[in-house]
């Protein structure tokens, strides 16, 4: 395997890499398998991604499934066509936008997430004003997720139709239509919650 770096404008047709580093504008037309993918410029990829580590400090547009051990997003990662993002750990200080599912053991987001479903073990989304100007602009709209399902969930600034979990903490500025909780539930008074079901203990 090899290291590959796109510094200006470059196209690749996919393949296997040790490290794929995009500093300029890169396009990829097929699947990529790499130990590490680092995006600091703009990267458009229509193939599937399989990697140990994906870090996006620029703008990445994907059109197929992403499977990684760790994903770090400080810029904007968007996925079209409703495909899946799967990882053991996702850290998001920027923006993740997908019409599909995000599945992770741990998702820790202080940026903005727009997704159909987020599932996993520990999901924490705290969407708030950020020092980073890009995030401020995009974050006028809080995180929007149709369904969130995890063992432990912590949210603020999130709009969701359904939140299901064991221990759920709803912080400020959330709008949740339905919650099903089987453990400890806390809800900030500055949030709106519709229907609550399950055998839970309320601890505000």
């Amino acid at each position: 395997m090899r290291d590959f770096k796109i510094e200006g404008l470059g196209n690749i047709s996919g393949g296997e890499f040790d490290t794929l580093h995009v500093e300029g504008v890169g396009n990829c037309s097929s699947n990529i398998k790499a130990k590490e993918i680092k995006i600091q410029g703009v990267f458009n990829c229509s193939g599937e991604i399989e990697t140990d580590s994906l870090s996006c400090e620029g703008v990445a547009n994907f059109k197929a499934n992403i499977r990684a051990k760790k994903i770090y997003v400080e810029g904007v990662l968007s996925e079209r066509r409703g495909t899946k993002i799967e990882a053991e750990q996702i850290t998001c200080e920027g923006v993740i936008k997908t019409g599909g599912e995000i599945s992770a053991d741990v998702l820790n987001a202080e940026g903005c997430i727009d997704a159909d479903e987020i599932v996993g073990d520990y999901i924490k989304i705290l969407s708030h004003w950020h020092k980073n100007r890009l995030i401020m602009v995009l974050n006028k709209i809080r995180s929007k997720v149709r369904i969130i399902e995890a063992t432990t969930i912590e949210l603020s600034g999130v709009k969701a139709e359904t939140v299901n979990g064991k221990d759920i903490k709803i912080g400020a500025n959330c709008q949740i239509d339905n919650i099903d909780c089987s453990g400890i539930l806390s809800i900030d008074p500055a949030s709106f919650v519709g229907k609550i079901t399950g055998e839970y203990t309320r601890r505000d």
């Binding site: 799967e86 599945s103 073990d121 995890a150 359904t162 079901t197």
Partner: protein, 209 residues
């Protein structure tokens, strides 16, 4: 089809959302078993009851002794390459000993794979339940083996039914729902992957590559 809701599944098995989705990500639970249906709360996920319960019990039994990668290989829906020698079939309690004795006549092989072994167990189970003769069980197995192997996958449901006083089998991709007219009596619907999971849990050391 007998379904179980995700909420009930978690309550019955004691597993967490995190475990369920981790096993799905690691391909230990097939994605097609997650059946989404609309509910009054918006949407609810259901699973084929017998298959998911069997699979989760297998994972819980095996997870301390095998890595997730090994487990994924063992529990993958494609029929495993591992086989069991004819002589070792006697160590599988769930296979009728009379059927094993008759095997050389009706389906002679030196080694049998997981799917073939699962079918032996399914037929043995039906033979005990229905008290059919050894000849009838062996003949049913003999007629069933070819259609069972057509799917080339353990993700198959074996429906045993009686028509004109004679037992028959029907093999469909799981999860599947088959309905018959009133002239046919359905005896049992047996997901073969549930049996294979059980065999792998209890008898994996008997299977060699």
């Amino acid at each position: 089809m007998n379904l179980i809701s995700k909420k009930d599944l978690l309550a019955i098995t004691g597993i967490s959302y995190g475990q369920l989705y981790r096993w799905k990500r690691e391909r230990l639970i097939p994605e097609e078993w997650f059946i989404k249906q609309s509910a009054y709360t918006g949407q609810e996920t259901f699973f084929p009851r017998e298959q998911i319960l069997s699979r989760i019990h297998s994972i819980l039994d095996l997870k301390d002794n095998y890595s997730h990668e090994e487990l994924a290989k063992m529990l993958s829906p494609e029929a495993s390459q591992s086989k069991i020698n004819y002589e070792d079939l006697n160590q599988i309690d769930e296979i009728d000993k009379n059927l094993i004795e008759r095997l050389p006549e009706v389906y002679h092989k030196e080694q049998y794979d997981y799917l073939e072994t699962a079918l032996m167990i399914a037929i043995s189970k039906a033979a005990v339940t229905l008290r059919v003769s050894d000849d009838e069980a062996a003949e049913l197995f003999s007629r069933s083996i070819a259609p069972a192997l057509v799917h080339k996958s353990i993700n198959t449901t074996c429906t045993i039914f009686r028509m004109d006083q004679r037992l028959h089998t029907l093999f469909t991709q799981s999860p599947a729902n088959t309905e018959f007219d009133s002239g046919i009596t359905v005896i049992d619907r047996i997901p073969l992957n549930g049996i294979v999971d059980h065999v792998k849990t209890r008898y994996i050391s008997l299977f060699v590559k």
